[in-house]
Assembly symmetry: C2
Homo-oligomer: 154 residues x 2
DNA sequence: CTTGCTGCAAAAGATTTGCACGTGC
DNA sequence: GCACGTGCAAATCTTTTGCAGCAAG
């Protein structure tokens, strides 16, 4: 079932490209697959490495191009995380909160109705048309890193 | 009163540096003043330009250094905004939402109790120790840009 | 065929760094 | 006087771009 879900995700991305009139290339197939199957929130470098395993001659520029195309089509979103060198991408395009550990840089998703409440309030009070691609990021220390730092000292 | 507020803000930043045992230099004074007086959310380039008006020989590296020092001390926070080339800084270190216009790149602050509610819920459900330096960013279209796009077409 | 896509390599551009000099304390 | 801060310029590093050749439709 997990595998089935991944396949659906890959195909969903490919369908979005197809419906936008984009050509179906082997590179794009591999990139979509890599995005769909990547656990978590890959960077372009992550995807480049993954795809290169099967497609050694692929260029970074192609990965950047495809990822950017998918982003324009709303299939994925950019996660801009302070102090991370690379830009992460998120396949979950529903507005949600990303919680980032300051130490291990782990990213955890949090879905909560509060996000919608927040968007509603922001729309009402600011007059902005809020787009769904919310960049809601909270920074903190994850349970593991908290434990480790407690064990060692301070 | 507005001027008085700015002065206080400048001095607050200087005091933070002083209390951290940092040396009091003319460059840092000008940078703190530029940050305190800047309307909105300056980038390093903004601050560099502002300071250079009074201090022509200052180097960009010094601005980067000082801004980074202030950030480490918690006096300002970084705003990572998708698709903006420069990193913006925010002198408001209370957790709040930044609403960013996709067109004119205007940034508007929104203070609401929902942020605290959200942080509480995130702490409880994720087990993370959430830090106050929340990067809560919502993207949208500001009233002005909305009006302009309506007037012109579509 | 025609146009978009890819690969390559170089460019761009923000931020960081190394080092020597100057300056606060 | 000592160590930190500054200035300068070069380095770094991610992302973007120009262009020629290739391939999808």
């Amino acid at each position: 079932m997990a595998q089935e879900k991944k396949d659906n995700k890959t195909e969903a991305l490919l369908r979005i490209l197809e419906e936008a009139g984009k050509r179906n290339t082997a590179q794009r197939y591999e990139i979509c697959k890599a995005i769909a199957e990547y656990p978590g929130h890959p960077t372009v470098a992550d995807l480049y490495d993954t795809v290169r395993a099967r497609f050694p001659m692929i260029s970074q520029a192609t990965v950047y191009n495809t990822v950017d195309t998918l982003r324009e089509l709303g299939a994925i979103t950019r996660l801009e995380i302070a102090n991370h060198d690379h830009t992460h991408y998120d396949t979950d395009v529903h507005p949600h909160v990303n919680i980032v550990c300051r130490y291990c840089e782990r990213i955890q998703d949090l879905h909560t109705d509060l996000v919608h409440t927040l968007i509603d309030e922001a729309s009402r009070t600011s007059g902005f048309d809020i787009r769904p691609e919310a960049g809601l990021i909270l920074y903190g220390i994850c349970p593991d890193c908290k434990k480790n730092s407690t064990e060692t000292e301070e």
